[in-house]
């Protein structure tokens, strides 16, 4: 009989909380969007699945050993941990969970040791998170792989498009302002670091957003990553109306001059030039842009083809699997089902919209005052979201002039947007994370 009870108590049904059911539904929704609608499936399939696993009641896959011990709620263990955390011995599990979250390093170590002595361990997804994200390594490795896939040719042929990549980052900082504003209005509750992390969603660059969130606002990492990848998938919906509203038919018809051929040597030198500029001016962006430039150099130098291939395939794929599952670990009900999550979703789309608009407006300006014609539609590609945003520019351009292929011209601002958001990330980390 005891066995039956033990079995029943160990089932999920006996331990289910409504929030977990809701989160499992959200996980299924993400999988649906990824599989049926083609929303960034490479990330959203692992994230969605990880989110479901994180909310399996009683499994504690997303919790650390100490959190699992507190969820286990064995009275004697609770009492011991309360002492370790400097709380009242009578404190209940929920209070202790809050105490654990704000405890200092040595208290956390003490609590962890008690939990491990009592037989509790880290959940699988928690371990993935610690190794892949908390250490910072997974976003950096993905950025290296992205670098190894990036062709800076169109950017080098027309370096002025870097300004468009800068302009589109305006959305990032406007969103920070928005987040701070919502907080001062009492509608949300974001610290400046939170606001900075949320703003990076507007950079339309997944690994950058995850990297910054893991440093500045780990608690918000789940919603930020979900928002970033969701909106990146929605670029073909979000951008066109803004692009049409801000440009005239005449502007959309502008034919740009063909890009010059860029030599192999220029392409080899560019990542080094960028790295040295980072070294001189923005060390906080060094990990992200360093790995990005390293990947690009491996690709362009032509003598380490097997390393470049691995960076673009086996390594980035392995890392993506664990990055996605790790992000999923941040979709536990307690941390995701907050009013802040809604705020993040709303602010994220605003950031995208402002970034798109800024890119288009600056492109208009450059067209008006520059010497060579520049179709403002390529401005929107400055938000990143490679290569989706460039394809959108191309598509809207073709609507206006069926013989005007903007794709290669838009790839310049598009990769500039990747650099731009990494730079913005560095600036944020310098100013806020210091």
């Amino acid at each position: 009989m005891d066995n039956l009870l033990l079995l029943w108590q160990s089932t999920g049904l006996a331990q289910f909380e409504p929030g977990q059911a809701v989160m499992i539904l959200i996980g299924i929704t993400l999988l649906f969007l990824a599989i049926r609608k083609g929303f960034e499936p490479l990330l959203l399939v692992p994230i969605g699945f990880g989110g479901i696993m994180a909310n399996i009641p009683g499994a504690g896959l997303a919790y650390s050993a100490a959190e699992n011990a507190l969820h286990g709620a064995d009275p004697s263990v609770l009492a011991e941990m309360a002492v370790a955390l400097g709380s009242s011995v009578l404190a209940d599990a929920r209070v202790l969970l809050d105490a654990l979250a704000t405890a200092d390093l040595s208290q956390q170590l003490a609590a962890t040791r008690i939990a491990e002595q009592a037989g509790y361990g880290n959940g699988m997804l928690h371990n993935f998170y610690v190794v892949a994200i908390a250490s910072g390594v997974a976003p950096l490795v993905i950025f290296m792989g992205v670098g190894a896939m990036t062709d800076f040719g169109p950017l080098l042929a027309n370096p002025r498009t870097l300004f468009l990549g800068a302009a589109a980052q305006f959305g990032i900082f406007a969103t920070v302002l928005g987040a701070v504003g919502l907080t001062s209005l009492g509608l949300m509750d974001f610290s400046l670091a939170d606001a900075a992390a949320i703003g990076i969603i507007g950079g339309a660059d997944g690994p950058t957003a995850i990297y910054v969130a893991s440093i500045l606002a780990p608690d918000l990492l789940g919603p930020i990553a979900v928002a970033a990848y969701s909106y990146m998938a929605l670029v073909p919906l979000i951008q066109p109306p803004i692009m049409r509203a801000l440009t005239t038919q005449a502007e959309r018809e502008i034919v740009m001059t063909q890009l010059r051929v860029v030599s192999r040597r220029e392409k080899i030198v560019f990542p080094l030039v960028l790295l040295i500029l980072v070294a001189l001016l923005l060390p906080a962006a060094a990990p992200l842009l360093g790995m990005f430039c390293f990947g690009n150099l491996m690709k362009e130098c032509g003598v380490v083809g097997r390393l470049s291939d691995t960076a673009q395939n086996a390594l980035i794929n392995i890392t993506t699997i664990f990055l996605g599952l790790s992000v999923g670990s941040k979709l536990v009900a307690d941390k995701f089902l907050e009013i802040n999550t809604l705020g993040i979703m709303v602010l994220g789309v605003v950031a995208f919209a402002i970034g798109t608009a800024s890119g288009v407006l600056i492109a208009k300006l450059m067209n008006r005052f520059g010497s060579t014609p520049l179709n403002p539609l390529i401005g929107s590609a400055g938000v990143s979201a490679v290569p989706m945003a460039a394809r959108v520019s191309n598509k809207i351009g073709l609507e206006a002039n069926p013989h005007n292929y903007l794709l290669m011209h838009a790839m310049g601002p598009n990769v500039a947007g990747v650099v731009g958001s990494a730079v913005a990330a560095g600036v944020m980390i310098s100013l806020v994370g210091g």
Binding site: D2, L33, G38, F39, I339
Partner: protein, 77 residues
Amino acid sequence: MRGVELMIFGVGAVFVFLSLLVLVTSLTSRFMSRFFPEMAASRPVTAAALRPPVDPVPDELVAVIAAAIHQHRKQRH
């Protein structure tokens, strides 16, 4: 707890679980073949992935999350 009990409960649990899986799988298969029959085997799923989405799904996602949060907060307070 002794071996015999472990065997009885263990075998029982495995059978119960897999019986439920038989049940749920059968129901799901019947449900799907009735309500979501595949149009034609020739349309691969990957095609959908390459096609940009055309309906305003962000609203859906936000709506789902909003409802979820609302319900969650209500229950806690």
